[in-house]
């Protein structure tokens, strides 16, 4: 990768240690993706905010780099470990809270917007089509490319952080050429968000960087988010397009048999001890939808709903938050189902959710069994 004289100086440490680290990361990712140069990006979204995921080494790294790193572009951040409004209700130790607060402080110092959300695309308006951004958080990267028509690679926590510090990213892969090399024919009829989640998980496993999906007419936001999140979980694919006439060289089918295979891999319980909704976090549209579905009903079990703080505040002023709470939901902001320290084996053995991504991490990281159901089935079975 060709660097300008100024970039070269930064890589050699002439502009301080933070920029040197950032350019070292970008040089490696540029080399890895055969980039010729770095290009400006206009928005970075970084992951690696939850102490549960980055641990002591991550916390120390951020404390050190934040001494002199400052973000050069708008930078939003992923969810952290808890909602400070309800943290005392959960059994978190002092060390966790102290380390999490240190991480929050480090990002603040570097100039991050305290969004604590995995759906930055529902908090901000999307920039102009074709804008180069740098999104870690796999669901957000896939959403930005596929629905938002922006340009980003499926960035890592460090490559997005390096982009936030430098305002640049290697010009390669999906930033340059995002034409699908594989086409998946959707053969499952009457799909809901769970079906699209299962399709996404399958697609992530078989497709490379970009995939075409045929046989799908339209997807609502819930289905889109579900598919982006599950695709990001199972693979390295960073974009999908709905296209019945793709000229992709490889073609595969997603039928009932494949659907069942993925479902059996992720569904390990007949029912859950509690319910979590929101991986990705719920947006306003999903919150209002859910409030409507729950009219006159209430959950029979504990139900946690994860949403960004900005969305919770809107939902509260519009009356929806109150309606959801009356139906027995607990609203949680700044955190998410995935890698949450709030749902553990100490309290429950199994969780019901409609999120494939949530299921994967609840199982692998939290060691819980998962009961997968669509939202409408959850409302039918778990409320009265």
């Amino acid at each position: 990768m060709e660097l300008t004289k100024d970039e070269e100086k930064s890589l050699n440490g002439e502009h301080g240690e933070a920029l040197q680290i950032a350019y070292r990361i970008l040089s490696a990712t540029g080399e890895a993706t055969d980039a010729e140069k770095l290009v400006p990006i206009h928005w970075a979204h970084v992951s690696g905010v939850n102490y549960n995921t980055i641990g002591d080494a991550g916390e120390e790294f951020l404390a050190t780099i934040s001494k002199d790193a400052r973000f050069r572009v708008r930078t939003t951040v992923n969810p952290m470990g808890y909602d400070k409004d309800s943290v005392e209700k959960f059994d978190l130790d002092e060390n966790f809270i102290q380390k999490q607060e240190s991480i929050r402080e480090s990002y603040k110092k570097m100039g991050a917007i305290p969004s604590f959300s995995c759906i930055p695309y529902e908090i901000y308006d999307m920039p102009r089509e074709g804008t180069q951004v740098s999104f870690a958080e796999s669901n957000a990267a896939i959403y930005a490319n596929s629905i938002g028509k922006l340009k980003t690679n499926k960035e890592s926590a460090f490559s997005a952080l390096a982009s936030a510090i430098t305002g640049k990213s290697p010009y390669s892969d999906l930033r340059k050429d995002d034409s699908p090399t594989m086409s998946i024919a959707m053969k499952v009829s009457e799909p809901n968000e769970l079906t699209f989640g299962l399709l996404g998980y399958f697609a992530g496993k078989v497709a490379d960087k970009s995939v075409a999906i045929s046989g799908v007419k339209n997807m609502d936001k819930r289905c889109n988010k579900s598919m982006c999140a599950s695709m990001g979980t199972s693979g390295s694919c960073g974009k999908f397009v709905l296209d019945d006439n793709s000229n992709a060289s490889e073609k595969v089918d997603f039928d009932e048999k494949e659907l069942q295979k993925v479902y059996d891999e992720l569904n390990t319980a007949e029912s859950g001890d509690m319910i979590t909704l929101g991986s990705p976090q719920l947006g306003l549209e999903e919150m209002t939808d859910l409030a409507t579905m729950l009219k006159g009903r209430a959950f029979k079990k504990r139900c946690l709903i994860f949403c960004p703080r900005a969305i919770q505040e809107q939902a509260r002023s519009l009356g929806y938050a109150g309606q959801l709470e009356s139906a027995g939901c607990e609203l949680m902001s700044d955190c998410c189902t995935c890698l949450t320290p709030l749902v553990t084996k100490k309290d429950v053995d199994s969780v019901t959710t409609n999120s494939i991504k949530g299921a994967y991490y609840l199982k692998n990281s939290n060691g819980l069994d998962v009961n997968l159901k669509s939202l409408s089935d959850i409302v039918r079975d778990e409320t009265s």
Binding site: A28, A32, I54, A57, K154, S156
Partner: protein
């Protein structure tokens, strides 16, 4: 011999070869280096001190922090080598200074689990 070097270094060691891709978040214990995902073909094995061969990284962008943590906790592999590089593995190894190589498919296929090899 290697197709490409992403993070420089030269190592000699024993190969731990995975037939499946690796999601570094939630499937590896960053304190011990053991693979905790029961469905993974390396389930229960430790990647510490190995030359870790795997097709490529998948999943979470935060896996880069796991790679960095493995190194900080002294349980990282000596080096990693893949068939295809993704940004999570590349950036994690760059920051942790773990040598990282892309191998040609012939070379990748010819190296077996347990082999003693030198890279870099």
């Amino acid at each position: 011999m290697t197709k490409k070097t992403i993070v420089k270094g030269s190592v000699t060691g024993k190969v731990l070869k995975s037939s499946q891709p690796i999601n570094f978040l939630g499937t590896i214990d960053k304190k011990t280096g053991s693979i905790t995902d029961q469905k993974h073909n390396l389930s229960g094995k430790s990647i510490k001190g190995s030359i870790l061969l795997f097709p490529h990284g998948i999943g979470s962008s935060v896996g880069a922090y796991t790679i960095y943590s493995l190194k900080s906790n002294n349980v990282a592999p000596l080096a990693m080598a893949c068939q295809k590089i993704d940004l999570t593995v590349a950036s994690g190894c760059a920051l942790a200074n773990i040598p990282l190589f892309v191998l040609s498919s012939n070379e990748y296929d010819s190296i077996k689990d347990g082999d003693e090899i030198s890279l870099g």
